[in-house]
């Protein structure tokens, strides 16, 4: 729960629920995030990620259940929670009329930092997020999307929080800006022991950064564990079969059922999950050959978080579907 300095950096939730009229945005979530971890919270748009972050950061009350952050109850000790946390929400919160230095100074002072110290902190953080060479008179309203996000991250760090909440910190950013944020998140965790609760739609982001991952879908946590554990649960190895057409892939899906009961189809490909793939390949080829289905390609690889996500939610993440929207069928089918 605590690090060397004795400060509690943990996050817990018990049967947490938040309803909006008929919608169960967060539907009975249990969580235990030990201090000092990067915890990746993965889910598609509308899965309940942001609602959960708002509850944990005290800006939204739960309908029922209990949560603690840094050892403090989010409903009864909101002020204590806010002193312990830094938050960068999905929608950046900047006053467009103020400059970066003014925003950082004001934020520091609101956390009780004396003015001189606040000035030093502001300069240090501007350097940290790479905004120190921006025209000091430039107001935040004139910043690019990436600059705004970096400034927002800096604002979340003015008081050296024990726990940092980042709600989709890289959504909409170019690859270079995304890599910068990843590097900074890793540094904050390594050097300062900060617990980082990171929500994301990007599987790669969760895979690269998170020590633990929870996958949320329709308000419920459907899988939780280390990335390695989650991938192992899908299977030790994946055989990917490529076909000439979608129709052939669909036919093959039925034909290989006896050999590979654990499988999913996407467009002209099948992904089959095995404990040891090589042992099953000859039988696979034989079955397909017997059905007159011609293979275009076959690869053996490790399962990815994509496979985990597909398995537990039954669908691909939205942004990934978008990327190949023209060819991909409505939803990949998962059998386990």
């Amino acid at each position: 729960m605590s690090n060397e300095d004795g400060a509690d950096r943990s996050i817990t939730a018990e049967s947490l629920r938040r309803d909006f009229a008929e919608l169960h945005a967060v539907d009975g979530v249990d969580l235990e995030v030990p201090g000092g971890q990067i915890f990746g919270f993965l889910g598609p748009n509308g899965a309940g990620k942001s609602t959960l972050v708002k509850i944990l950061t005290t800006i939204l009350n739960p309908t029922s259940g209990r949560a603690t952050v840094g050892g403090y109850d989010v409903q009864r000790q909101g002020g204590k929670v806010r002193e312990a946390i830094g938050v960068a929400l999905q929608d950046v919160g900047l006053d467009p009329l103020m400059t970066s230095r003014e925003l950082l100074m004001l934020q520091s002072e609101l956390f009780g930092t004396p003015r001189d110290e606040a000035r030093t902190i502001s300069e240090r953080l501007l350097k940290t997020v790479g905004l120190d060479d921006v025209d000091p008179k430039k107001r935040s309203g004139a910043y690019s999307g990436g600059m705004k996000r970096r400034l927002d991250l800096a604002l979340a760090l003015v008081h050296d929080p024990r726990i940092l909440f980042l709600d989709e910190p890289t959504t909409g950013l170019d690859p270079a800006s995304r890599a910068d944020i990843w590097e900074e998140v890793r540094r904050l965790n390594d050097e300062l022991g900060m617990t980082i609760f990171l929500t994301t739609q990007y599987l790669e982001e969760a895979d690269r950064l998170a020590d633990q991952i929870a996958i949320i879908n329709k308000g419920r946590i459907v899988a939780q564990g280390t990335p390695e554990k989650l991938k192992r649960e899908v299977g030790d190895e994946v055989v990917e079969l490529q076909f000439g057409s979608r129709e052939e892939a669909e036919r093959a899906y039925d034909v290989v059922e006896a050999v590979a009961p654990n499988r999913q189809a996407a467009n002209r490909e099948l992904r089959l999950y095995f404990g040891r793939a090589a042992e099953n390949v000859p039988e696979l080829v034989r079955v397909l050959d017997g059905a007159g289905i011609r293979l275009q390609g076959l690869t053996i690889e490790q399962p990815s978080l994509d496979d985990v996500f597909l398995r537990v939610t039954g669908e691909a993440l939205e942004h990934e579907v978008d990327e190949a929207a023209e060819d991909v069928p409505a939803a990949a089918e998962v059998t386990s």
Partner: protein
């Protein structure tokens, strides 16, 4: 207390960066002063009229500035909600009261500065304050409290509607209050019974009375106590309404 001072400073600095949000209101106040004083000053010739018409009409200019300038607090809150900065402030240990009252007090301070400017213009036009410099100061304090009252109302409407146009329109709904009173002539010369009833229940009347007594006749304790009590009560009511609206806006959305 520090958090509220920090947020007042921020709101004032932002308002000064957008002079267009302040200047029209000053212009309208000065316009009222010139037009009514030059067009209706013969009212001062009526038997029983005490003091100058300038001292009589100046409170109308001040109160209308309060109604027009009140929208600033509401606009600040709506902009903060729209651009996410309101949430950013709520994520700090800052008291909710400071987040809501900061822009309200800033709005009332800006209004007070406008009132001081309008009063100096009135002095240049020949105004003699019957109650002296102390009276001048009390008129400014009354204007500040009146500004707080309308800023509270504007903040309440902003937090309830979260819509800039609706919040601005709601403040204009108070303009009739200025005219449902003894606005242009003393009470003795108003003959319409309905207007007398409206003026009696209209809090603006008591603000006019207090300011006019200070400007035109000197120290009148009854008028001052009633004027301050009404204004303070109105400001407290709208301030509480704004905080109540903030509770809904911060936890339910």
């Amino acid at each position: 207390m520090n958090d509220i001072l920090i947020l007042i400073g921020r709101s004032i600095r932002n308002a000064l960066r957008q002079p267009a949000t302040i200047l029209p209101n000053i212009g309208i106040s000065v316009f009222f002063l010139f037009v009514y004083n030059s067009g209706l000053s013969s009212v001062a010739q009526l038997p029983g009229f005490q003091g100058t018409y300038l001292g009589f009409i100046l409170p109308v200019s001040i109160v209308s500035a309060a109604v027009g300038g009140a929208g600033l607090a509401g606009q600040t809150l709506i902009k903060d909600i729209d651009n996410g900065y309101f949430t950013k402030l709520l994520l700090t240990p800052t008291r909710r009261l400071a987040v809501i009252w900061g822009p309200m007090i800033a709005s009332a301070i800006i209004l007070t500065a406008q009132v001081v400017l309008v009063m100096f213009i009135a002095l240049l036009m020949g105004l003699k304050v019957a109650a002296g410099p102390g009276g001048f100061l009390l008129v400014v304090v009354l204007a500040f409290l009146w500004g707080m009252a309308f800023a509270g109302y504007a903040a309440f409407m902003a937090l309830k509607t979260k819509n800039a146009a609706a919040a601005q329109a709601a403040t204009f709904a108070f303009f009739p209050l200025i005219f449902l009173s003894y606005t242009f002539v003393p009470k003795e010369y108003v003959t319409a019974g309905w207007l007398k009833v409206a003026a009696t229940i209209n809090p603006t009347t008591y603000v006019f009375d207090s300011m006019r007594s200070l400007l035109n006749t000197g120290w009148d304790s009854t008028s001052l106590i009633v004027g301050f009590a009404v204004t303070f009560g109105f400001a407290t009511l709208t301030g509480i309404m704004a905080l109540w609206a903030a509770r809904g806006a911060t936890k339910m959305s």
